[in-house]
Symmetry: C2
Subunit: 214 residues, 2 copies
Amino acid sequence: MEERRISKAVIKRLPRYYRYLGEMLNNGVERISSGELSNKMQVTASQIRQDLNNFGGFGQQGYGYNVQYLYDEIGKILGVNTTHPMIIIGGGNFGHALANYDFSKNGFITKAIFDIRPELAGTSIRGIPVLMMDELEEFVEEEQIEIAVLTLPKSKVQEAATRLAACGIKALWNFAHLDLDVPKDVVVENVHLVDSLMQLSYRITSYERPEEAE
Amino acid sequence: MEERRISKAVIKRLPRYYRYLGEMLNNGVERISSGELSNKMQVTASQIRQDLNNFGGFGQQGYGYNVQYLYDEIGKILGVNTTHPMIIIGGGNFGHALANYDFSKNGFITKAIFDIRPELAGTSIRGIPVLMMDELEEFVEEEQIEIAVLTLPKSKVQEAATRLAACGIKALWNFAHLDLDVPKDVVVENVHLVDSLMQLSYRITSYERPEEAE
């Protein structure tokens, strides 16, 4: 079968499909047409069909989609049908907030929080132990950690990313406002909050081009 | 002059340009070619030229970009050359973490945090007062708040968004895992953390198509 590279835009829509389908299941909906799905999601029906065709379709002409089946298949595509052991690097406010956020129903299991402050050793957040950075490599290997969440200050994050890449982590979820330099086989997903806030600000701003200025 | 709609992809790259140019300024770089900028940003030089041409160019053939000028103009495009009064709705872990994050150097000034828990009334985070939700409308009007950051649970966030839209807020920065329904003149920028984590998980997952399965 033809191997195609799936575009970023498609991958970005999949979690939304998954979320909406989950809500429908909760509401007892068993079957949905691409038209109805399109209305709910504010994406065109043809876009939905195209997106799903990347993975083999899942619908039947004139019959629509079986919600449970589609939900399960998108779950498999996204890899949320299995568990992903995860650690949080940095036990500050942000790390703390993320530790309190329960990602486990989508398979992301936070196993530990790492910090360098000795006073945090032996403490825990929502039952998740806070460990010291010198225990990192051993823990990642023993617990087969796949994902590390980086909530460190900008000045500390590259060093941590390099250490994590060296001990075989598969993916970094990076909250520091910095693009990381890691080997190509390590996946980096950035959540650059300031960038997001600037995109918001762009949309409430009228820019006057220099040559139009008086 | 021709009015064009700028694509989302361009808008998404602008904050990155801004960030990189800011770092160059800090390092004393005065001038840069689109080729050098391209190397640093891992975006093609022609992409950079195209992106900036949306706003009128800013470069001179064979001369490159003046870093300070380009930085300032992108700042204006993004609207971070002025101040944006902002409030945080929800004083939980996440609201707390965001209150501790200083967005002010990009013009986003957090004026208050709103919550419904009476025990939080009169407290403050980093000098920012925690106010009660019954004070919301008056505060938004008096302080001319432009942006509300929504860190409420999913079940509470639509009601808050509706109230905020009704009292004239310009933009919602939404951290709840839900797409909001608000009037078209209210800008919504979503930070769906679970979606981001799923995009990460997609990239470390091998999906076996149903028809390929045994």
